[in-house]
Symmetry: C2
Subunit: 354 residues, 2 copies
C-alpha cells in the first residue's frame, strides 16, 4: 500500500468528527431502490463492538433498482455508479479516499453473479480499494448485529430469505428463490395466495372471503375476472406484494381464508430459519444455545392485530429458546458499511499475524 496515499492508514489528517479522511461505502441494492452510505473508517475489533452512537454517517444517496435480474446488467451497473458518485460528492470525499466498499445486493445466488458485480465495482475504484459483494440478506444481518457476522437473518419484503453465519464463518441460506420457486412467506407469496383465493371464491373452487371486496377496492377493479388481466399487465412482483396489508386487515377482521394464508406464511418463514439454524448448528448441541435472529422487511414489521413478525418469533423460540430476535435500528446500507470495516480489519489482522 502506498504510504502517501490519502486512502492509506496512519498519518492522515483528522476530520472534525475525530476520524481520518479515509472512508468506507456501504450499499444496499434492493428490489426497488439502491442506497449508498458513506462512513468514516471506524476501527472495529472482533467481539468488541463499541460503536459510536449515533454513527458518524457522512452521507446517504438513493437511486433506483440495481438487481440485474430485474433491470438488466447495463442499467444495474449505471445505477451503482451513480449512487456511489452521489454519496461521495455529498460526503466531500472522492474515490481516492475510499478504503473499502461492501455491496449487499439481491440477485446474488451464485459465485458467478458475485464475480460479475465485483468486476463492475473494480472498474469504478482504484485497485487498492477492497471490494466485497454479498447477498443483500448479509447486509441485513449486519444491520442487526452492527457488523458482526453471526446468527441468522430473516428477510421478508417483496421476496423472502433466511441467511446465517456460524461463529467459525460457515454460512447457509434457505428460500430466496424468487416468485417461481415458492417463497410463500414473502410479501409476494402472501399476496399471490390472496389473489388466488379471490379467483377461487369467484369461480366456485373456494369459499367466499372478505379479501374479494378488499382487494378489488385496493386495485380499483370491479370484478374478480379483471384480476387476471391485472396480473399480466405488469410483471413487477412488488406491486403484488403491496397487497399484504389488505390480507392482514382481513385476518384482523376475522376472515378465515386470510388468517390461514398468514398462518401458512409464518410456518414457511419459520421453516426457512429452522433450515439455516440446523445446518449451522447455531443452537448448539443442547438446542438451547443463544444466537441472534435479525428480522427485516415490511412483512415482519409490527402490524396492528395480526403480527406476522411476532408469530414467526414465537415459532422459532418454541424450537430454539435461545434465539433472540433483533429488529435493526439502522438500515441495511449501514450494515454493509460496517461489514466493509469488519472485513478490512480482519484482512489486516490476518496480514499482521500471517
Amino acid at each position: 500500500m502506498e504510504s502517501d496515499s490519502k486512502g492509506g492508514s496512519g498519518q492522515e489528517e483528522l476530520r472534525e468528527n475525530g476520524y481520518g479522511s479515509g472512508v468506507v461505502l456501504g450499499l444496499d441494492g434492493g428490489a426497488t431502490s439502491t442506497v449508498c452510505v458513506c462512513l468514516p473508517m471506524i476501527p472495529l475489533l472482533r467481539d468488541q463492538l463499541s460503536l459510536p452512537d449515533p454513527l458518524p454517517v457522512l452521507s446517504r444517496a438513493v437511486a433506483g433498482c440495481s438487481n440485474y435480474n430485474s433491470v438488466g446488467e447495463n442499467a444495474a451497473k449505471a445505477t451503482l455508479e451513480q449512487v456511489i458518485s452521489d454519496a461521495l460528492t455529498e460526503s466531500g470525499s472522492d474515490r481516492s479516499a475510499v478504503h473499502a466498499v461492501c455491496l449487499g445486493v439481491s440477485g446474488v445466488n451464485h459465485p458467478t453473479d458475485q464475480e460479475m458485480i465485483l468486476n463492475w465495482l473494480r472498474e469504478i475504484f482504484p485497485s487498492h480499494v477492497k471490494i466485497y459483494v454479498q447477498n443483500d440478506a448479509v447486509a441485513a444481518l449486519a444491520s442487526g448485529t452492527m457488523g458482526k457476522l453471526h446468527g441468522c437473518v430473516l428477510v421478508s419484503g417483496t421476496g423472502s430469505i433466511a441467511y446465517g453465519f456460524s461463529k467459525d464463518g460457515k454460512e447457509a441460506r434457505a428460500a430466496g428463490g424468487g416468485p417461481i420457486l415458492g417463497d410463500w412467506g414473502s410479501g409476494y407469496g402472501i399476496a399471490a395466495q390472496a389473489l388466488t383465493a379471490v379467483i377461487r371464491a369467484y369461480d366456485g373452487r373456494g369459499s367466499p372471503t372478505m379479501l374479494t371486496n378488499r382487494i378489488l377496492k385496493a386495485l380499483g377493479l370491479s370484478s374478480p375476472e379483471e384480476i387476471i388481466g391485472w396480473t399480466y399487465a405488469d410483471r413487477s412482483w412488488a406491486r403484488i406484494a403491496a397487497l399484504v396489508p389488505e390480507v392482514v386487515s382481513c385476518a384482523d377482521a376475522g376472515d378465515q381464508i386470510a388468517h390461514d394464508i398468514l398462518v401458512d406464511a409464518v410456518k414457511e418463514l419459520g421453516i426457512a430459519v429452522k433450515a439455516v439454524v440446523e445446518r449451522l448448528c447455531l443452537c448448539g448441541e443442547d438446542r438451547s444455545g443463544s444466537f441472534p435472529v435479525v428480522m427485516v422487511g415490511g412483512v415482519l414489521e409490527s402490524n396492528k392485530g395480526w403480527d406476522i413478525g411476532k408469530e414467526v418469533v414465537n415459532y422459532i423460540q418454541k424450537l430454539y429458546p435461545g434465539a433472540h430476535p433483533i429488529r435493526p435500528k439502522v438500515e441495511p446500507a449501514i450494515g454493509a458499511a460496517l461489514l466493509a470495516c469488519n472485513f478490512l480489519m480482519n484482512e489486516k489482522n490476518i496480514n499482521n499475524h500471517g
Copy 2:
C-alpha cells in the same frame, strides 16, 4: 345479404367435395402457436350431428403465439393476419368466400379482451362475415363434442382451465388465471412445484428427492442454486411446463415428493371441473346425469405409469358417475371451425324463426 356474392348461400358452384365454395375458418391461438384451418361451410343441425368422416379440411396453416398478454397487441394481430392469409391461400379461397370465422384464443378473460380481438378480425374481413371470439377452452370443448357446446372441457397444458356450457346455453369457467393465480394443476404449476421441491431439498427445508438429479440433468445445470438464475433468465412459462415428464418419471420410479405433487395436481384439476359442473348443474338433480368431459392438453395425455388424465377422470367419476370422458380426435382449430358453422346455423335459424 347480397345474392350474387360468392359468400352468399344457395346458388353457388359445388366443389369436387360436394360442398359449395363458401368456407369457414377455425383458429386456435394457444400459448406457443396459432393454428388456422379452412373448412367448407358444413350444414350442422342442432342435436343431429352427422358429420362427414374424415372432415373435408381444405387447408391448415400454423404461425407463432397470438396471446397478446404474452407477445403484445401488434405482434398478436400480425400473427392472426398472417395465419389467416396462409390458410386461405392454401385452400384456394380468398376473404370473400369466408362465411364465418371462429377464434379460440388464450388470454380472453373479460368482455373487453373479446371486443379488442373482434375488432382486429373485423378489420381483416368484409362486414358480412360473422366473427366469433372465444376463450381457447371453448374451441377445445368443441373439438371433443364436434361443435356442440355442452358439457365441460378440462385443459391442462402450460396453463389449465375448466370451462363448460349447460344445455340452455349458460357458461362457467374455473381456474385459467395464469401462473400467478395458482393454477396448480397446470404443466407450469406441476413443474414449478417440482423446481421448488429441488430448492427446498437443497437448502434443508425439504426432504431429498429424485427430482434434483433428474431436473438438473434436463436443464443442463450442475447445482440447485443455479436454478434460481435459470428461472429469471427467461420468463416463458412453457419452458418450465416442459419439465412435467421429469416429474411423472420420478413419480413412476417411486419418488414420494414427485408423487405428492401429481396427487395435488389431480385434486386441483378435479376441483376445477367440479366447480364448473356444480355451477351449471351439468349432473342434474340426482347428480347422476350424463355429460361429456373433454380432456385436452399435454398434462392429461396418457403417460406410461402415472397417468394424470386417468386419475382426474377417476376423481370426477367418483363425484359424478354420469361424466363420460372424451379425448378429442380433432384439434382445437377444427373445433373452432365447427363452432363457426354452428353459430352461423343458429343465427340463421333464429333469423328464420324470429
